[in-house]
């Protein structure tokens, strides 16, 4: 019985994943090479046209998604790291309050939040209209339906996923170790780059995964805040599934996205393997 306990513990979660992740995944993989339509049904023909589309017709959207994901992740790091640092080291007894503030947007629906940004950023909305009327901004100034709006929305929506893991990693750094670095002649910058940053890398690493992946696959921000020039691969997939009812192409695009992202993540893990960075810090 005791030997079985670990298996019993992973059984519910394992079953859940099997039923709701693996089964649909396998099914979708099979759909991705089918032909047909919703009315007459799809039949397996091992047709790989959908995959060719991914690199032909939708190359631009793939690239754009990657660029938006990278830009969004970079901005999220720049915003989240100082925030997490401040909460972890200067938050004092109010740390949990600050963390709650970071998580507060999650109490409102994702779509609702994004839509409210649409009102905020509207060309003659409450933010820009007054500035335009007093002449601070030119009449044709706009943010909505631009890259700035979409990336801004992505950063806003996924920022907590960057803050939390970095915070957890920083919180675990023993401040006396930082003092020891000062004691051993490290400057403030040196103590940060050689002690604090390397020790928080696992959190940063997790934060990048937790934001880059959903940002790249996102379609809500591009749909609500973006214009025709901001279409991401997520929007195409959504369109293929729900508008064109072309399940095989939608599935093929999804799998291509997944494969590209997995390769990217492994490359990232290998290049930035915590070990290398730690060794660099020790020099």
């Amino acid at each position: 019985m005791r030997r079985l306990t670990p298996y019993l513990l992973i059984l519910p979660g394992g079953l859940w994943l099997l039923v709701f992740l693996i089964v649909p995944l396998v099914y979708m993989a099979s759909v991705s090479t089918m032909e047909g339509d919703v009315v007459n049904g799809f039949a397996q023909t091992f047709n790989f046209a959908g995959y060719l589309d991914a690199f032909g017709a939708y190359q631009t959207q793939f690239l754009r998604s990657a660029v938006y994901g990278l830009a969004g992740t970079a901005i999220a790091i720049a915003l989240a790291y100082p925030m997490a640092y401040w909460i972890a080291f200067k938050g004092g007894s109010r740390k949990s309050t600050y963390l709650l503030l970071v998580l507060l947007p999650f109490f409102v629906s994702f779509v609702l939040r994004t839509v409210s940004w649409k009102f905020l950023l509207a060309d003659d909305g409450i933010l820009f209209e007054p500035l335009k009327s007093i002449g601070v901004l030119p009449e044709d100034f706009r943010v909505l339906q631009t890259t700035v709006a979409v990336v801004g929305g992505l950063v806003y929506n996924y920022l907590p996923f960057m803050v939390l893991p970095i915070y957890v990693a920083l919180e675990r750094v023993d401040y006396r170790v930082v003092e020891a670095a000062y004691d051993l002649y490290a400057s403030r910058v040196g103590a940060f780059t050689r002690i604090v940053l390397p020790l928080s890398l696992p959190g940063l690493f997790a934060g990048v995964l937790m934001t880059f992946v959903p940002m790249t696959a996102d379609y809500v921000n591009a749909a609500i805040l973006g214009g025709p020039d901001n279409t991401m691969i997520g929007n195409i997939i959504q369109q293929q599934y729900l508008v064109n009812n072309d399940y095989p192409v939608g599935a093929a695009l999804s799998f291509t996205l997944m494969a590209v992202m997995l390769i990217g993540i492994f490359a990232y893990a290998k290049a930035l393997g915590t070990q290398n960075v730690l060794e660099a810090a020790a020099r």
Binding site: E179, D183, Y185, A186, L278
Partner: protein, 382 residues
């Protein structure tokens, strides 16, 4: 606080020659912390001078301000008032990374993501020491602390004692003008602690660096130090060599904190031939040598349990002798511990070597005389 060096004895005689410029000088150093809207004084005005090459201990109970004092020397805390000087230079406003002292933290605070070699080389690298010299000095240092061959280990792969030695090497390799150690052996078990005490003392002699050693363990301070500052409630109660601290505690607190001590109080009846005499009538008298007291004054006198002799008859000669009744006897191996109740109600502890002739030992309920040489009782300031 004066630098009291009147004490003579083996430990004091071993003190190194004091160079003209002291290694560390604290002058009226105060540290205040805000706490729940009030101001608490962790250190209430400490002045002391530590000589070059000295093994100096800050000794006191937990919370008396030892760590705070040390952190002000290292530069981690800014004194609220007073100045800190290192080698004659005022460093009160100098940050820790620009001070020529290094600290060994109580928790070691080793860099967890670096191996032993990298930990020890850290300070030298920050000072842009040539790589060849780093190699040589780290190697030498690891040899001194007996960690050669363990260069590639991470801190978490080492025992407490080994981590302790890495922490020591990491600080010492920089050849600081002074090394600050905050209860460095506190986390080790008794046996390892004793071994490390000897080890630390050997290393200090070998490198000849000033050690400032914080501890709450009085026996550790007594065995290792050239001089000790006994602290209580943010103040230095006594600053002297180990022997003097033990033999001539300056205050009741020091007497009680260092070892076991008996405290007797009474009125000086007369000053007789250089001795202040506390007369207890039929039940004897206490003589205090070299006492500046005048007749009629109330004084407190300490006497260590091992200085007292127990006898059934009143001893002859010029000695302190008081009578009492044995209320408890404890057999403690090499010696017996007696609790003797005086007519005044005060209880006195007496340690007596286990005599070869066990027939002379007193039993519970016996009426006995306690006697000791006048120089062994010492009047303390109030």
């Amino acid at each position: 606080m004066t630098t009291n060096q009147a004490g003579v004895g083996a430990a004091d005689a071993a003190a190194p020659v004091v160079s003209a410029v002291p290694a560390i000088e604290l002058d009226g150093v105060v540290k205040e912390y805000p706490s729940h809207g009030e101001v608490v004084q962790a250190v209430k005005g400490v002045s002391l001078t530590i000589a070059e090459g000295e093994f100096f201990s800050l000794l006191g109970p937990s919370g008396c301000g030892k760590t705070t004092t040390m952190r002000m020397i290292a530069g981690f805390e800014d004194p609220s008032r007073g100045t800190v000087k290192l080698h004659g230079k005022d460093v009160t406003d100098v940050p820790p990374n620009k001070r020529d002292v290094n600290m060994v933290f109580q928790s070691y605070a080793l860099f967890p993501h670096m191996n032993v070699w990298e930990n020890v080389a850290f300070g030298l690298r920050r000072r842009k020491t040539p790589e060849a010299e780093i190699k040589r000095r780290v190697g030498e240092m690891l040899e001194i602390v007996d960690l050669t061959g363990k260069e590639k280990r991470r801190p978490r792969e080492m025992s407490g004692g080994q981590q302790q030695r890495v922490a020591l090497a990491r600080a010492l390799v920089n050849r600081p003008r002074a090394l600050l150690l905050d209860e460095p052996l506190g986390a080790l078990d008794l046996k390892l602690r004793q071994a490390m005490q000897t080890e630390l003392k050997r290393i200090q002699r070998e490198v000849g660096i000033t050690f400032v050693y914080v501890t709450h363990d009085q026996s550790e301070a007594l065995t290792m130090s050239d001089r000790i500052a006994v602290m209580n409630h943010g103040l230095v109660e006594q600053l002297a060599g180990p022997r003097e601290i033990y033999e001539r505690p300056a205050t009741a607190f020091v007497a009680g904190f260092i070892g076991t001590s008996n405290l007797l109080s009474g009125q000086v009846e007369r000053v007789d031939d250089g001795f202040a005499v506390l007369d207890l009538g039929e039940c004897g008298q206490v003589l205090v040598a070299g006492a500046p007291q005048k007749a009629g004054e109330r004084i407190e006198v300490t006497v260590r349990p091992e200085k007292i002799t127990i006898s059934t008859d009143r001893p002859n000669g010029r000695a302190s002798a008081i009578c009492g009744q044995v209320t408890d006897v404890a057999y403690l191996g090499t010696y017996n511990s007696y609790a003797v109740s005086l007519s005044t109600g005060v209880e006195v502890t007496v340690f007596q070597q286990n005599a070869l002739d066990s027939s002379t030992t007193a039993e519970r309920g016996d009426s006995v005389w306690l006697s000791w040489q006048p120089q062994h009782s010492y009047a303390i300031g109030s």
